[in-house]
Symmetry: C2
């Protein structure tokens, strides 16, 4: 399923359609997870006016591996890691919900190895580490 639709992550943004480009650019500039309806709000000026326009672009971008969905927040973040292959690893703050994508490539290899060790033939994984972020620990 994932495999058959997986496309070279390095494919330039020219491959994206108009709406996909608009949504992707917004997410890249944001640098933090955004929610579908907040994206919709931001993009009213670009002429996007219905949720479906946003969701369609988001779905495709997820499929292409150019963005990830943070399921527990119903939010979307531009991919930060050129080697992730649609695998995802995040830290999520227990208190403020702040999300950071983990870029450490060893981690991706290690999790893959763990899957193998447990005899699982995986197409991808999602790993979420819940932490108290620095800002929240102080307060």
């Amino acid at each position: 399923m994932v495999d058959s639709k997986m496309i070279n992550k390095k494919s330039i943004n020219e491959d994206l359609t108009k709406n996909q480009k608009i949504v992707f650019n917004l997410l890249q500039n944001a640098g933090e997870p955004l929610k579908a309806y907040s994206i919709l709000e931001s993009l009213k000026r670009e002429g996007l006016k219905s949720p479906l326009q946003i969701y369609r672009a988001l779905d495709k971008l997820v499929e292409l591996g150019k963005i990830h969905k943070i399921e527990s927040q119903n939010s979307f973040i531009a991919c930060n890691n050129s080697h992730c292959s649609s695998n995802t690893a995040f830290t999520i703050c227990n208190r403020c919900g702040d999300v950071k994508e983990i870029k450490h490539n060893n981690l991706f290899e290690d999790v893959g190895a763990l899957a193998k060790k447990n005899r699982l033939k995986i197409s991808r994984f999602n790993l979420e580490f819940y932490i108290d972020c620095n800002g929240c620990k102080i307060n």
Copy 2:
């Protein structure tokens, strides 16, 4: 946050309130993930008639570690692993969405070790392995 509210997983179900017990029993007997509104449907006969009654029970049960939420499906499953400490590890089928909780304790230790290796002080983790399940591979 998790720590302060974490309660002994072995606490018997007597500790649960009426609605919590009703919801938890249903999930235990189901043995598969259920969605909030499907739980509501099933429990109309028990006198539960509003979403909030279900969500309140589910929230508490998650907090107690007696059930887990499968975020990508908005579904809830009874915990299957007495050592999980609110850590979660699942396989999820790409095609049919079938979810299984992984019980292999070594995996939980290994993921904890990975967090440490990456200098993360985590309160818990959630790991999702996406696979093609046996049933789906055949068809």
